[in-house]
C-alpha cells in the first residue's frame, strides 16, 4: 500500500490487520502519534486522513491506501511551530504530553471546521480526546488562544 504522510509518500507491504496507527509509527517511523487504548476511546492516536480527524487505531492501514495523512510531525515546518502548538505551550496545556499530539490534531480539525468556537463548542468538539494530567481547562484556553493566533487577532 501507498500513503502520503505529511506530504511524503510511504510505501510498504502490510498485513491486512495492521492498524493505521501502527503503520504511522512503524512503517512511516513517526512516533509522535501515540496508542493509548487500541479501542477508539482515548484519542491519543488522532490524525487527519483526507482532511477529517480519525482515530488511527480504529482504521486498518489498508483503508488509508492512496490517502493523505497529516500527523503531529506535519504541523509546523522547518523548525517553526504551528500556532496551535505555540498556544498549547504558552497556555500550559500539557504535562506528560502523551495525549498532546492527538489533542493538537483534534484541535486542528475543530478549528478548520469552526474557527471561532465557544467554550462549550470546544468541550463538545474535543470530547473524544482524554487527558489524565491537566484537567482540560488549560487545553480549552489553548484552543481559544490558537483560534486568535490563526485569525491574527490579539
Amino acid at each position: 500500500m501507498k500513503v502520503r504522510v505529511n506530504g511524503e509518500e510511504v510505501e510498504a507491504e502490510v498485513e491486512p490487520r495492521l492498524l493505521l496507527a501502527h503503520f504511522i509509527r512503524e512503517k512511516a517511523g513517526l512516533t509522535g502519534t501515540h496508542v493509548g487504548c487500541v479501542s477508539g476511546k482515548c484519542g491519543c492516536c488522532t490524525v487527519i486522513v483526507d482532511g477529517e480527524p480519525v482515530k488511527s487505531c480504529m482504521m486498518f492501514s489498508v483503508q488509508a491506501n492512496g490517502s493523505d495523512v497529516l500527523t503531529i510531525e506535519g504541523l509546523g515546518k522547518d523548525g517553526t511551530m504551528h500556532p496551535i502548538q505555540e498556544a498549547f505551550w504558552e497556555s500550559d496545556a500539557l504535562e506528560c504530553g502523551f495525549c498532546t499530539p492527538g489533542m493538537i490534531m483534534a484541535a486542528y480539525a475543530l478549528l478548520n471546521k469552526n474557527p471561532t468556537p465557544t467554550e462549550q463548542e470546544i468541550r463538545r468538539g474535543m470530547v473524544g480526546n482524554l487527558c489524565r494530567c491537566t484537567g482540560y481547562l488549560n487545553i480549552i484556553k489553548a484552543v481559544q488562544s490558537a483560534s486568535e493566533k490563526i485569525r491574527g487577532v490579539k
Binding site: 517511523g29 500550559d92 500539557l94 502523551f98 495525549c99 494530567c133 482540560y136 488549560n138
Partner: protein, 808 residues
C-alpha cells in the same frame, strides 16, 4: 531551620513556560514504545482468565512450532534462573521481618506457578520477531486450569471458611497495623466514658485507580560486550528496580542500567516493580536479544495496580460543642491478590487524625487478600483514604450534634500558633493556617450569596447544596526502614565554559522537573534559567536517588539542589576572591557576574571563574580542590523522628493542605449531580512555578472528580473484572470537568530551605468528600446520608427513593 531565601527571588514564583513542552507539542518526546531499537523482539504475556485456579499444565508446544516465535517461558524456567522476591524490598532480605512489621511475607516469582490468584496474572511469556504475531503466539499457549472458588469481598475473605488464596498462611490476612501497639490506652477509654455522645458509623470507599494515558511498557537489552543490562521503563523508582533486579537476576548492580524515558503519567501507579519489570529484563538476559513489552489497555486494567478500596468502621467520642475527644477506626483494606504495596495502608493509619487535634486515637487496620488485582499506590496513596474517612466522620459528628460541618472542623483544627504539631500517630505537622484557608475558600465561592440563592431555589423545587472540606496531604514520604530513605541527592556542576548542569536521582512523568529546578538554581546563582541544564532519568550517570513519588521532588530534590548550589557558590566566591584579591565575604553575584559589594567595578564573570576552576592552575587559591562539582543531599529534618507514643514515628516531611468548596444541584428524578460551582483554596508552601502548580491541581481535581462520580472498577462474584476499557471505566472528559475557582496562600515549611511543601495531591482528595457533603445538604429534607463512594446517579436515585419521605 533558618528560612534562607535566595539572594534575589526572580525566577522562583514565576510562571515560566515549561521547557519540556517544546518537544512534546511537536510529538518529539520519546516515550518507552517510541524508542527505536534495532533487532527488537516483542513480548506477549499469557494471562490467567480465572480469578482463582490451580495451574495443572502449561503446554507451549504449539507456540514453539510457530515460525515467528523465538522463545517461550513459564514459571518452571524462572525457578531455575531467578530468586523469588516481593514486598518492594531488594529481596529476599534476611531482615525482612524487621523491615516489614505486620506484613505476611510471601516470596514469589513473577509468573504464576502452582496457582493463579487473580484475572490478568502473568502465567507465561512468548517472544516473537514481530509485534502482531504476539497475539497468535499467546493464543497458541495452552493452559489447563482447575478453577477454584474466588473470594472478591474483603469481609467475606476474613471469615472462617472463605476460600484461601495462600493455603500455607491459614487465612487471608495480608497485613496488620495496630496503633497503639500495646492496646488502647486509658486516656482513650476515659474519653469514651466522658463523651457527651458517641457517634458510630461505616464508610466504604470503592476500587478505582490512576489510569495514566500511557500504558506500561518495558524494553530491555543485555549487551554482551560490556555485560550490561539496560532497561527502559517509565518507573517512578529506577534505583529500587535496579536493587531488586540485582537480587533476583544475580547481575551485579553496577552492570544494571535503568533509563526512564519520557513517561505518559505516573500518579503512583508506576511506582516500584511489577511482575513485568522483572520478566522483560530476565528474557533479555536469557535470549541475548533486545525485547519490548507494551501493555494494551485491557491488560492495564487487569494487571496494573488498583487502589482506594477500604472500609472504615469508626466511633467518635464527642463533646456537645463538636470537640472530638476520642476516635477509634477499624479499617479493612481490600488488598487484592498480592501485598506488595503495604506502604499505602501504613500511610492510611498514619494520616487518620489529619489536621485535627485528636490525640486519643486507635487504629486497627487489616489488609486482606482477595482474588483481585493488587492494591497499589495511587496519588495521595493511602493518605487520601484516611482523609476521606476523617472528613466523613466530621460530617457525621456535625449531623449528630446539629452543628455545621464548618464549625466542627474549625473546632478541632490545629491552630496557627500550635505548629509544629505532633499528632497521635507521630506526624509532625510543619506549618499552616487552616482557619484562614476556610475563610478564603468561603469568600472564593461567595458563600453568603449561595445561602440566599438556596432558599429561593428550594422554593422553586430545586435541590441545591453546599459543601466545604479539608484536604490534608502529607508529602515527602520517607523514614520507613529499608524501604524509603527520606532524602535525595543532587549534583551541581559548572562546566569550564560556564554552563550549569544539575543532575538528580529523580525522574518525571510530567511534573516539569527540568523547568522548575532551573528556576531554583537560576535564583541561587543569579543567572538565566536557560543556562541551567537539568538531567535525570538515567541510573548509570546520575546520583543515587529514589525517584519521584509523594511529591518528594519539591521536598527533597529541590532542597538538595539549593544546598548544592549554595556550596558551589561558596567555592565560586573563594576562587573569585582569590583572583580579584578580595575576601569572599565581600562578594555577591548578579546576572552571571561576581562582584565586590563595596566596589562593584571589581568584577569577574561566572564563566571566567569556571575556566579558572578547571584550567587555571596558578590562578587558584591554595587548599581548594579544582573543578566545580558539588554533590549534596537533603533529608527532611523531621523524617523518622520518633513520636511521643511508643511505635510512632514521622514518615512524611511536609504537610500541604487545601480547602475545597462546592455548590451542587441534585436532580431528584434521576439522581444526577450537577456541579454549579467549585472552589479550591490551597497552600503548598513556597510555590516555584505557579502555572505548573495550577495545571497540576486541575488534573488532580479531575482525578478526584472521576473517583467521586464516575470511575468504578467492578468485579463480578467470580472475580472477573467487568470494567476493562474506557467505555466501562469513565474517566472525566472535557464535558465533566467544571471550571474551578482557584486561589492559594503560601505558608512556607520551616523544614525545607525554600519553604516548599510539594504538591498537588490535595486536589484528588476534595471532590468525593465535598460533593458528598453538598449532596447531603441539597437533600437535607430527605435525610440522605452518603456512606459510600462513588456517588453515581443510580446510587443517589436509590437513596432518594429509599428515603420514603416526600419532599416539601
Amino acid at each position: 531551620m533558618q528560612q534562607l531565601l535566595p539572594l534575589k527571588k526572580k525566577w522562583v514564583g514565576t510562571g515560566v513556560k515549561r521547557r519540556e513542552s517544546k518537544r512534546l507539542v511537536r510529538g518529539e518526546g520519546a516515550y518507552g514504545d517510541d524508542i527505536k531499537v534495532s533487532n527488537l523482539h516483542y513480548i506477549g504475556i499469557v494471562r490467567s482468565p480465572h480469578a482463582h485456579a490451580r495451574i495443572l499444565n502449561v503446554d507451549t508446544s504449539a507456540a514453539e512450532k510457530m515460525p515467528e516465535e523465538v522463545a517461550v517461558f513459564t514459571a518452571k524456567d524462572l525457578k531455575k534462573d531467578m530468586k523469588p522476591g516481593g514486598h518492594m524490598l531488594p529481596y529476599p532480605a534476611p531482615d525482612a521481618k524487621e523491615w516489614l512489621p505486620g506484613t505476611r511475607l510471601l516470596w514469589r516469582y513473577p509468573l504464576a506457578g502452582a496457582k493463579t490468584h487473580y484475572v490478568g496474572e502473568a502465567v507465561a511469556i512468548v517472544v516473537c520477531k514481530d509485534m502482531y504475531s504476539i497475539e497468535d503466539a499467546i493464543e497458541a499457549v495452552g493452559v489447563e486450569y482447575e478453577v477454584l472458588p474466588a473470594v472478591v469481598d474483603a469481609e467475606q475473605a476474613m471469615k472462617p471458611g472463605s476460600p484461601l488464596l495462600y493455603e500455607e498462611l491459614g487465612d487471608n490476612i495480608s497485613y496488620t497495623f495496630r496503633y497503639p501497639e500495646e492496646g488502647e490506652d486509658d486516656e482513650l477509654k476515659a474519653a469514651f466514658k466522658s463523651a457527651d455522645k458517641v457517634v458510630r458509623g461505616r464508610f466504604k470507599q470503592h476500587r478505582h485507580t490512576g489510569t495514566p494515558m500511557e500504558t506500561r511498557n518495558v524494553t530491555a537489552n543485555y549487551d554482551t560486550h560490556n555485560e550490561t543490562l539496560t532497561v527502559w521503563e517509565g518507573t517512578q523508582n529506577p534505583n529500587f528496580l535496579r536493587m531488586q533486579l540485582t537480587k533476583v537476576l544475580g547481575i551485579p548492580e553496577a552492570k544494571i542500567r535503568i533509563i526512564v524515558p519520557n513517561t505518559g503519567g505516573g500518579f503512583g501507579i508506576r511506582c516500584f516493580g511489577y511482575d513485568e519489570s522483572f520478566l522483560i529484563p530476565y528474557v533479555a538476559y536469557k535470549i541475548r536479544k533486545p525485547v519490548r513489552w507494551t501493555e494494551n489497555r485491557m491488560e492495564h486494567f487487569l494487571a496494573t495496580g488498583h487502589a482506594r478500596e477500604q472500609i472504615h468502621d469508626y466511633e467518635a467520642a464527642v463533646k456537645k460543642d463538636g470537640t472530638i475527644i476520642g476516635l477509634r477506626d477499624r479499617i479493612i483494606v481490600d488488598g487484592g491478590a498480592v501485598n506488595v504495596y503495604w506502604a499505602s495502608w501504613r500511610s492510611t493509619a498514619f494520616n487518620l487524625p489529619g489536621p485535627y487535634k485528636i490525640q486519643n486515637l486507635s487504629v486497627d487496620l487489616y489488609g486482606v487478600f482477595t482474588n483481585k488485582t493488587p492494591y497499589w499506590s495511587y496519588r495521595a496513596f493511602g493518605k487520601l483514604d484516611a482523609d476521606v474517612a476523617m472528613e466523613r466522620i466530621i460530617d457525621h459528628v456535625a449531623r449528630e450534634l446539629t452543628l455545621s460541618p464548618i464549625q466542627v472542623r474549625v473546632r478541632n483544627f490545629v491552630k496557627k500558633h500550635e505548629f509544629p504539631y505532633e499528632t497521635a500517630t507521630g506526624a509532625v505537622l510543619d506549618s499552616g493556617d487552616y482557619d484562614v484557608a476556610v475563610e478564603r475558600a468561603l469568600k472564593l465561592i461567595d458563600y453568603d450569596k449561595f445561602r440566599e440563592e438556596q432558599t429561593e431555589l428550594r422554593k422553586g423545587g430545586r435541590y441545591v447544596g453546599f459543601g466545604l472540606v479539608m484536604c490534608f496531604e502529607p508529602t515527602g514520604a520517607g523514614g520507613i526502614v529499608g524501604v524509603r530513605p527520606g532524602y535525595e541527592p543532587v549534583r551541581f556542576s559548572m562546566t569550564p565554559t560556564g554552563d550549569i548542569i544539575i543532575e538528580t536521582g529523580s525522574c518525571s512523568q510530567g511534573q516539569a522537573h527540568e523547568t522548575t529546578l532551573a528556576q531554583v538554581v537560576a535564583d541561587e546563582l543569579s543567572v538565566d534559567p536557560d543556562r541551567v541544564v537539568v538531567l535525570e532519568n538515567d541510573t548509570m550517570y546520575h546520583p543515587y536517588g529514589f525517584g519521584a513519588y509523594s511529591s518528594r521532588f519539591s521536598i527533597n530534590t529541590v532542597p538538595a539542589a539549593v544546598v548544592a548550589a549554595r556550596k558551589a557558590k561558596e567555592k565560586i566566591f573563594q576562587i573569585a576572591g582569590f583572583k580579584l584579591g578580595l575576601e569572599p565575604l565581600d562578594l555577591t553575584v548578579e546576572d552571571g557576574v561576581v562582584f565586590s559589594k563595596k566596589n562593584p567595578e571589581r568584577r569577574i564573570t561566572l564563566s571566567e571563574v569556571a575556566r579558572v576552576a578547571y584550567l587555571g592552575a596558578d590562578e587558584f587559591p591554595p587548599g581548594i580542590e579544582p573543578g566545580l562539582e558539588v554533590l549534596a543531599y537533603f533529608k527532611g529534618p523531621t523524617i523518622g523522628k520518633k513520636g511521643k507514643r511508643k511505635g510512632t514515628l514521622n514518615i512524611f516531611s511536609t504537610y500541604p493542605y487545601a480547602v475545597h468548596a462546592a455548590i451542587v444541584e441534585v436532580h431528584v428524578d434521576t439522581g444526577k449531580i450537577d456541579i454549579r460551582k467549585y472552589a479550591a483554596f490551597h497552600d503548598c508552601g513556597t510555590v516555584i512555578n505557579p502555572k505548573v502548580i495550577e495545571t497540576e491541581h486541575m488534573g488532580s481535581i479531575a482525578q478526584g472528580l472521576g473517583g467521586a462520580l464516575y470511575e468504578e472498577l467492578v468485579y463480578d462474584k467470580d472475580g472477573q473484572l467487568l470494567t476493562t476499557t474506557f467505555m466501562d471505566y469513565h474517566i472525566p472528559t472535557f464535558l465533566e470537568m467544571p471550571n474551578v475557582l482557584f486561589d492559594h496562600t503560601e505558608t512556607p515549611s520551616p523544614f525545607t530551605p525554600l519553604g516548599t511543601k510539594g504538591g498537588s495531591e490535595t486536589g484528588t482528595v476534595g471532590p468525593p468528600i465535598v460533593i458528598a457533603q453538598a449532596v447531603e445538604d441539597a437533600l437535607s429534607q430527605f435525610n440522605i446520608v452518603i456512606t459510600e463512594t462513588p456517588l453515581t446517579m443510580d446510587r443517589i436515585w436509590a437513596k432518594i427513593k429509599g428515603a420514603g419521605t416526600k419532599p416539601h
